[in-house]
Structure formats: C-alpha cells, structure tokens
Amino acid sequence: MRTFGRHSILVRSAVMLLGSFFLAGAVTISISLAFTSARQHQAATDRLNRLLDTVESTVRIACFVQDEKLADEVAQGLLKNKEVQSVTISSEDGRARRLLSDSRHGLITSGLRLAREVRSPFNAEKVIGRIQVDANTTAIADDIHDEVRFITLEIIGQLVLIALTVVAVMLVFIVRPIKAMSDGLHRMDATKGERLAVPRNHANSEIGRLVHDINGLAGNLVDTLDQERTLRLDKEVEEKKYHSIFENAETGIFIVDQAENLPSWNPAFALLLGIPTNEVYQGTLNIRQLPWENASRIVEMALNCRLDNIGLSDDLAIRLRNGSRRWLSVVLTPVGEDLLQGVVHDVTEHKEAEASARRLSVTDALTGMANRLGLEEELQAMLRDPLIAQTGGFALVLADLDNFRRINEGFGLPTGDAILRGAATRLGRCVKGSDTLARLTDDRFALILQSVTGSEEAGRIAERILASIRKPFPVDDAQIQIHASLGITLYPKDGADIPGLLRNAELALDRAKTMGGNGFVFFDPALTEAAEQRRHQENDLRQAIQNREFRLYFQPIVDLADNRLAGAEALIRWLQPEQGLIPPDAFIPLAEKIGLIDEIGLWVLDAACAQLAGWQAQGLDRYLSVNISAHQIPDGLPPAALADAVRRHGVDPARMALEITEGVLLADVNKALTWIEAAHGLGFRIYLDDFGTGYSSLSYLKRFPVDTIKVDKSFVGDMGEDGGDRTLVEAVVAMARSLGMSVVAEGVETAGQLDLLRAMNCRYGQGYYFSRPVPAEQFEAAAVRIDKMLAGRVEAPA
C-alpha cells in the first residue's frame, strides 16, 4: 500500500483545513480579545461606579463641611478595593476649590478614570465638590488575559477536533475508495472484460457513479479498439485491391509531389508517356522530363491545382520518340500532403474526330465550300482582324440562281446538284484564291471579296460572275441555261456587323430578283426603307385580320344560254381604316409571301359559305365561286377544312366553285393533283382561272378534274378588234365543250362582246357590262337589274 505523499488529497486537505482553521481561530481570538477588553473596561467602570455609589452620602457630608479627615477615611476605604489605584476628593463652595484628600497606590498606569460631582446633602442641585477615581488597569488587563487564554484554548480544542473528524471522514469516504479504484485500475485488463468493483457502501454515491462511468468508458474504448482493428484489417485488404487496380489499370495514374517529381506511377502511365520500363528513376523523374509538347502547361496546371486546391483537367499534346503526336486528357486532383494525383487518358482519336466534325460543321457537303456557319465564322474573323481597317474593307456578294426550283422540278435533283456544283466551280474561278466562297441554302451562294471597297471593282466582278453563270451547263445530253441575281454590300459602308451586312445583301438580292433577275444590285439605304414599308404593311395586314377589316364583294355571273343570273364570283376587299378600300392585287401577294394567305383564305371560304347559305335559304338557285391562291394548296386549305366549312353552313358543295390558277399546277404537280381530286371528290366545282395567260398546257386540262374554264378578260376585251383573239376564244370554247367543260368569259364590257360570245355558244359571261363587284347588300339590286336587262335588253350601266 502506498503511503500518502505530499500531494495526496488527504495531506492537502489537512494542510488546507489547518491553515483555514488557524486563520479562523486567529480572527476569532482577535475579535474576542477586542470584545473582552471593551467588556472588561465597561465592567470595571460599572464596578467603580457602584463603589462610588456606596460612599456617595459620606462624601457629600465630607465635602459639605470640608472635612479632610472624613474624606481621607472615604478614600482609604475605596483604596481597599484592588481595582482602585487613586482617589482624589475636593470641595468647592462657589469661590474656592479645596483638596480634601489625595490618596493613591504607586504611579497611575492607565487612562481609566472616573470623576463625579459631589452635591450638597441638603440641596441636590448644588455642587459642592468633586471625587475622582483612577482604576488599576493592570488588574483589569490580567482579567482580560485570563479570559482570552481560556477562549483560545477552547477554540483550538474545537478546531483540532473538527480537523481530525474531517480528515477521518475524507480518509474513509473519499481517499480510501479512490485509492482502491486506482489500485484496481492498475491491475485491471479491460480487454479481457475485467471491470472495476464498486467500493463497499458506495453503490449510490458519487464514487459509485464514477466507477460506473469508468467502466462505461473502458467498454467504449475496448469497442473502439475492436472497430479500429477491424477497419485496419479491411484497409489492408482494400489497399491490396487498390494496388492491384493501380497496377492493372489501362488509365495512366501518377502522383506529383511539391518538387514536381513523380514518386510513383502505374505501368499504363509509363506506356502512355513512353517511359522505358527498364530505366529506374527511383522517384527522381521530374514531370518536365516527360515528352510534353509544352511542358510549362502541365507545370502551370499543377501549380494552379495546388494554389486553389481544386481538381483541374486539360487536354495536352505529347510527342513520342517515334515522332507520333498524341493527345492526352490529364486530370489533376489534390490528394492532401501537397501531393497531386494525375489521371491520364489517350484522347487522340476523340480529338481528331472532334476536329473533323468541326470542319464538317462549317462545310457544305455538296460543293465542299463553306456553309452558312463557315461564312459567319469567316466574317467574324475578318471583323475582328485589326488589318481590316488598313485594307479598307471588303465586299459581301449574295448570288442566287434564278428560278432554280424549276430545274430541280423539271430535271430532277441530281441534275440540280450537278448544276450547283458547276456553278460553285465557276464562282470560284471568278474570284481570287484568298476570297471566301460559301453556299448558304439550295441555290444561294455568298462571296467575300477581299479588299474590294469600290462599287466599280465590285461591279466588274459581278458582271464576270453573271457572264460565267449564263454560259450553258452541259448536263447529260442537254445544255441547260440559267442565270443568276446578285446583291452586293460593301463593308463597312453598308453595315458594321454580320447580321446587318447579310440582311442588306439579301435586300439587294431581292431587289435584283424583282427586277427580273440576271443582274446585280448594290445595297442602297432606300432598300431598307422599302423593306421597312413592307414591314409596316405586313403589320397592317396582321391587324386587318384581327380587326376583321376584310369584306367580300360579289360580281354576278350570267348564264348566256338561259338568259338568267347564274351566280357570282366572291372577291375580297380590304377596308383599311386610313386608306379606304384596297383591291386584292395590292395585298394578296404580300399575304402570300408572309404566310397570312391561309388565314385570309379560310375567312373568305367561311364568308362565302355564309352568303351561299343565305341564298340557299331564300331558295335562290345560284352558285358562288371563290379564288384559291396557289399558296393555299395543299396545306393552307386542306380538304378537311373545305368539308368543315360547307358542313357548318349547311351549303351544297356543288354550288361552291373553287377558282385555281395554272400556277397551282406548276408548283408541285402531284400534291396539287391530290388536293384538287380531294376537293372535287367532296363535290366542289373546280374552275381554272385566268386561262390563257400562263402555260395553259392542254395536258393539265386532261389530267385535272376541271369543271369550268375562265377565259382571261384580256382575250375577251381584244375580241372585237383582233381577229386572232376572237379565234382563240372560239377555240377555247370549242375545246372545253369537247372536254365536257363549261366556259366563263371574263371582262364582258360591251353588248358587242356579249353578242360575239353568244354566237360562240359561250355558256357564261362576267363583267362590267352586267355589274361591277358589289357588296352583299347591293347584290340583290344588281340581280334585279340584270334580270330586267336580260329580259328587256335594258342598257348596261355606264
């Protein structure tokens, strides 16, 4: 058993206890000393006062008669008390003071003095003398010392008893159990499951709880150690596994340290970077020694990776000893302790594929020249080039082959492609090698003419291009002749950015096209204005649809054989709020171009059906024809929409005629045929409008289910003067009859023309002679007039 050392709780507590007890004792004794002293003085004073009381009457008498002898007697009596050291008695009678007695024992030693006035025995208000007593303080001090000594001994005794009790209690309740626990802990092997025993009688005390806590802690520690051991074993297995992965991976893996040396790498890395396996670097291989094309890139990457503590990746090129160039994807990741882990893949194939795709994306497959993307990139590069300011600019030319669609339709796509390739070659010959050529869409090309800044030079080149395109293209056995339109913009005069330049070139090209093709036009700000105006018109037209600004006018058609009103042609008008009534020629082409024709067409059909339904309801035997634009066929006005319209209004489709032009037949013959047959199948009549002005192929007439032909008013108008036109109309009427079709003569303006048409047996007539197109509400009036006219030959209106 170990002894209690200097630092034992018991010794420390005992020292602390004794110290504090000593302090407490000292304080207590000092206080009681002061208290006792005060009390003893007070007691001595009281005793002296009582003593003086006993001699009071005698002293009064002594003083009254100024009797020294009696006074001495009193003084000697007082001095018999050992506390009295001296007595002085004096008398006074108002004038003189007289010492009666002055008796003492030795020298006066203290300041405790009592003095009393002596009053007359017969008159208590009259002072006749004085008695003064000095106390013997030595005696008082002896009393005080005796008392303090007793208190001191008492306190020391009590404190020693308490200290001993505390020490004993600590020894029994604290020190012993702790020592027992400490010894137990020394002997205990926690891993074998041993635990501390709870000291006797401490099951529910703090000591007992401490033992439980220690046992709990020991349990936790043992558990944690077990887990740790398991983890370590697992980790060893894992490490072996990872080492094997590291060794066998096809991905290059390496570690870079702070000095840019490679302390380790795997075989795949050695293979990728061409590190000879027989050479032993032993950790001195520096990353710069590897065959990077640009070693500073990887060094910089490693530095940034370390500085920012983030993973970085990049594709870096290396050049192997055999001279081949490879692309490696390198990923660097900080793995702690200033080490970086690198992962390397060979991405050479991927890089090459990417470059190839990049080339393809800017190349036109057919001609091998740049495509639209390529052109825009080239333009961007040129606009960024600071040299552009020195050379003064360039010209951007858009070239479009006129009516190229017909080639494709007429000769087939292979022929079209051959011509496009040929045109591309010819364009290439017309410009310098440094100029850029691109194909934007089907037959639209763009040329960037370097350093061409003047319109004169650009015009010369444009002429050259036009001439070279005009030469016939030999395709198979045939010679195909086409021509082109060119729109020219000059940078920077005509536009400072790419979209602006391209848009302006397109405006110039459109202008060249509308001027008939086979020419070139320089961009002019007026073109922008015109385009602007058209855009306004477009907006107005869109508004017109929303605001329902369209009206239907009706021009009567007369049955010349039966002399009666047969029906009418519905004609659209635009009631523009500012400009008034606008005829269809002024807005239908624009509507066709911007795709509003479909919506307008549907409205026309709907309004016409409504009108027809009205007539039908009145029991009038009339038919109504509406004009169908080539743009509406086949998708803008699908047969289903036709069927829906007549069904909704409950009209007989046989009374509804659809007027189409020969243009419809030119666009896409097969689709047009399908549509016409479908419409005809629904019961609609098909009219061929403006017959004679276009191609007027007789084969079309045979192939399409046309019911009626409308002879163009230009022929009817010229019938009277020119014998040729009259013959032509006659021939058409005859041909139609032979094909089982009816004929409507348009533009009948005079009675003479009417007579001629009757003579030709032309069935129907339409024109100002009968009536102008009128709004619906005036139509009945016109019908009445026509009836009268036909019956009584009433004069036609002027």
Binding site: T58, I61, F64, V65, Q66, D67, E68, K69, L70, E73, P121, F122, N123
Partner: protein, 143 residues
C-alpha cells in the same frame, strides 16, 4: 350626592389640622449682632456645621431647642426637610473627625433666651410669640 353645606364642612375638617398643627418658626439673633437678614442657605450652613460665622463676621453660635421640644423637629423639617434621626445620623458621621460639631443643645427654653440675650453671636429658632425686642428676626421659616 351630598348636600352643599355638608361638603363645605368636610373641606374645613380636612384642611384645618394642617393649618393649625404646624405654625411657622422664626430664626432670631441678638439685636446687637449686626445682622439684619439671613438667607435659607446661610441658615443651613450655620446649623449644619459648614460655616460657624455670621455675615457680620461674628462667630456664630447656633442653639438647638431641647430634645423633647417639638420645635426642634419642626425646625429641621422646615430647614432641610429631614427628621431628627437623619440629623442625628449626620452628626454621628462628623463627630469623630472633630472638624465641626452640632449646635449647642439647650436644656430649656429659658436657656435659649438667656444665651440669645448674652451672646452676641447666638442664633436660635423660636415661636414667633417668644420674640421680644432683644432679638431680631433674620429669617421666617414657614411651610
């Protein structure tokens, strides 16, 4: 309630013994002593032994009435409010030191009158009725 005459009678009975039983005394000296008036204090000092001198410088000779005379007890009661036992106890304390002595104890009233007449410094207390021209009243002691 008692009738009014009875009340008056009761009051007279209660008051009359006090008024009659304790008539005043006078302090007298020889007419030749040269003293006209004495204060009560002077009287106390002389009779209780503090001073034995008259204000005129003459040695005072205080004289007590005989022991059995009621005037003596009356005199001390009037002078210092003490009875004779107390006065005797007072003198007993002083008797041994010899410093002073009690007043001369007269054997009879005649002796008092005689001493008053003979001794110029004599001073004594008398019933007012006993005073004649040889004596001079210096202090009237009344209750």
């Amino acid at each position: 309630m008692l009738p009014r005459p009875l009340l008056l009678l009761l009051a007279a009975l209660l008051l009359s013994p006090l008024a009659q039983a304790d008539p005043g005394l006078v302090l007298v000296v020889n007419a030749r002593s040269g003293v006209d008036r004495l204060t009560l204090d002077d009287a106390v000092n002389i009779f209780m032994g503090r001073y034995r001198q008259l204000p005129s410088g003459l040695a005072a000779l205080p004289i007590d009435q005989p022991e059995n005379q009621p005037e003596k007890a009356r005199f001390y009661r009037l002078l210092v409010h003490k009875d004779l036992a107390e006065i005797n106890a007072y003198w007993a304390r002083l008797i041994f030191s010899g410093k002073t002595s009690p007043p001369h104890q007269a054997k009879s009233s005649a002796e008092i009158l005689d001493l008053l007449a003979r001794q110029p410094g004599a001073i004594a207390y008398l019933e007012r009725s006993q005073v004649d021209s040889r004596f001079r009243i210096v202090l009237e002691l009344e209750r």
